[in-house]
């Protein structure tokens, strides 16, 4: 379980997070939604132990990500940032293999190789394994980076806007894949999404943020109501139903 208690994060004089309290149970997909500047990305980085907060605590199970050593932290929680770039020219397999670094710290075992192969297969990258990352299309590259995060083999996986720059087909494909993999392996995924319908279609829980606070936190169906959404985004929405799932339309 992830427990966040009155987490405050400050840049200069501006409070980006203003006392966030949040409990996320294990398993399934949690979507983080909210307007630009609500603090979604900052919260994700804080949970991963990368943004040291001004006040408050984070616990991932028993682990305090700010007190733990880097490798211990990276074996518990994996974070994929927005638009990662590398200076090295890497092949897909080499990139994905970096996910094992917190485990082997430079001494690669055959178990690491196996997990990398599994991650490549899980994200349909086996055929691309020998390609240079910079020659991939945007969708393939995003998949390669997510496969790296997957190979980290952590109970918690945090993804910051992974659907950015993906066309509808690749976006759907990625969400479906994450959904299935999370069910199969029991690993928990927290994902920042701008597309509310992607959240509606694939997530088990939704956390809506606004102005550096958690505004609402519930199951997808319970949270996606016109009044809640209107309050979060300050713009009116209609919520329809299609095949038992809510569909959100901006009015």
């Amino acid at each position: 379980m992830i427990e966040v208690r009155s987490l405050t994060y400050r840049v200069g004089d501006a409070d980006i997070l203003k006392g966030v309290d949040l409990e996320l149970p294990e398993g399934g997909i949690t979507a983080l939604i909210g307007p630009n500047g609500a603090g979604k990305s900052t919260l994700l980085h804080s949970i991963a132990g990368l943004n040291r907060p001004a006040a408050g605590t984070v616990r991932i199970g028993t682990l305090d990500p700010f007190a733990a050593s880097g490798p211990a932290r990276a074996r518990t929680v994996a974070l994929l940032q927005q638009t990662p770039v590398a200076v090295s020219r890497l092949r897909v397999r080499e990139l994905v293999a970096f996910g094992r670094w917190p485990h082997h710290r430079g001494r690669v075992t055959s178990r690491d190789e196996d997990i990398v192969d599994e991650a490549l297969a899980a994200f349909a990258l086996t055929d691309l394994a020998g390609r240079q990352v910079e020659t991939l299309s945007g969708g393939q590259r995003q998949r390669a980076f997510i496969a790296m995060t997957w190979a980290q083999d952590t109970p918690w996986m945090l993804l910051d806007e992974p659907l950015n720059a993906l066309d509808p087909r690749h976006a759907r494909d990625l969400m479906a894949r994450l959904h299935r993999l999370s069910r199969e392996t029991g690993r928990s995924v927290v994902i920042v999404l701008h597309d509310i319908n992607a959240a509606a279609g694939w997530s088990d829980r939704i956390v809506a943020m606004k102005d550096g606070r958690v505004f609402a936190h519930d199951t997808s169906t319970a949270l996606l109501r016109p009044d809640t959404l209107a309050a979060v985004f300050d713009t009116p929405f209609d919520v329809l139903e299609h095949k038992g799932r809510p569909v959100v339309v901006a009015r």
């Binding site: 630009n36 500047g37 990305s41 900052t42």
Partner: protein
């Protein structure tokens, strides 16, 4: 108010510059003033004004505020031209040499323009780096040529701008700067439109390529003039226009006199400081300015609103 302060500073600098030197003004004062002190002061003001104007024109022409003549390979190209003249036709008149220097400066500028069109636009900071390296390549060629022909000392003189050698009869070509300044003032509006980019300029009915060509000829002539008479002064063309733009916005017609004035004032100040700090030795004005100019540039770079992350 700011203008009054500016004028007072300039007047003060001119007085100090006129009064400062190894010999006292008490004897032969008028003669000394006319032959040495006044030419030196005028040369600093003209060179600074010329480079500042060249800077603003080249910035508008490539739509990049971080570029200036010394970041376009132009001075190095002019040096190459001068080296060639010194080798092939040492007896050429000064006017002829100036012409060759200006022509090769123009060729260097054309090369930079060709590069600039291939450098990705979305990143404004890439172009100055490319220009810097381009200049370094031309500079390496010049060094190699000078070294092979035993002309290194010439190169040394051109590379480092200073005014200690300025005397009556040796700097008058710089007055051409004044003439070019008037010309620039006449076409200021067109140069401003140039800064909006090719598509926008065309839709406003401006012949983009012709105007840019004219602007770059002016830049080449200004750079070559200054280089040949007093040497290279990196950063003047960058600092003066950017400071004025921060202070007053971007209306060129109104700003051109200020930019020229500020450029002249800064170079004169650098010269005066260079004469005062190491007394009785002199520090070249270009060196003083490199330290000061680089400092201002760093400030510009970091005081500009940064891209925030959410």
């Amino acid at each position: 108010m700011a203008r009054v302060v500016f004028a007072a500073v300039l007047a003060g600098l001119i007085l100090v510059s006129l009064g400062l030197g190894a010999a006292s003004l008490a004897e032969d004062g008028a003669w000394l003033l006319m032959v040495s002190r006044f030419p030196r002061t005028a040369a600093a003001l003209l060179a600074g004004a010329g480079l500042a104007l060249a800077g603003v024109v080249v910035q508008q022409a490539v739509q990049n505020r971080l570029v200036e003549p010394s970041l376009t390979g132009t001075p190095e190209a002019a040096m190459l031209g001068m080296l060639a003249v010194t080798l092939i036709a040492p007896g050429l008149s000064v006017a002829g040499k100036m012409l060759v220097a200006a022509a090769s400066a123009l060729a260097g500028m054309a090369g930079f323009l060709a590069l600039a069109e291939r450098v990705p636009r979305q990143d404004p900071m890439l172009l100055p780096i490319v220009g810097l390296i381009y200049g370094a390549i031309l500079g390496a060629v010049a060094t190699w040529a000078a070294w092979y022909t035993d002309l290194m000392q010439y190169l040394g003189i051109w590379r480092l701008g200073e005014f200690s050698g300025v005397m009556q009869g040796r700097y008058e070509w710089l007055w051409v700067v004044a003439g070019l300044a008037v010309l620039l003032y006449a076409v200021a509006d067109r140069i401003t439109i140039l800064g909006l980019g090719e598509a926008q300029a065309r839709s406003l009915g401006l012949d983009f390529r012709q105007t840019r060509g004219l602007g770059l000829v002016i830049v080449s002539v200004l750079t070559a003039l200054v280089l040949v008479t007093v040497g290279a002064f990196p950063f003047v063309g960058l600092v003066a226009p950017n400071l004025v733009s921060r202070w007053r916005g971007d209306n060129l017609r109104a700003n051109l006199p200020l930019i020229a004035g500020l450029g002249g004032t800064l170079v004169l100040a650098a010269d005066v400081i260079g004469r005062l700090v190491g007394h009785p030795f002199e520090i070249p004005a270009a060196t003083v300015f490199a330290v000061f100019g680089a400092g201002v540039f760093l400030w510009l770079l970091h005081a500009a609103p940064g891209r925030s992350h959410g």
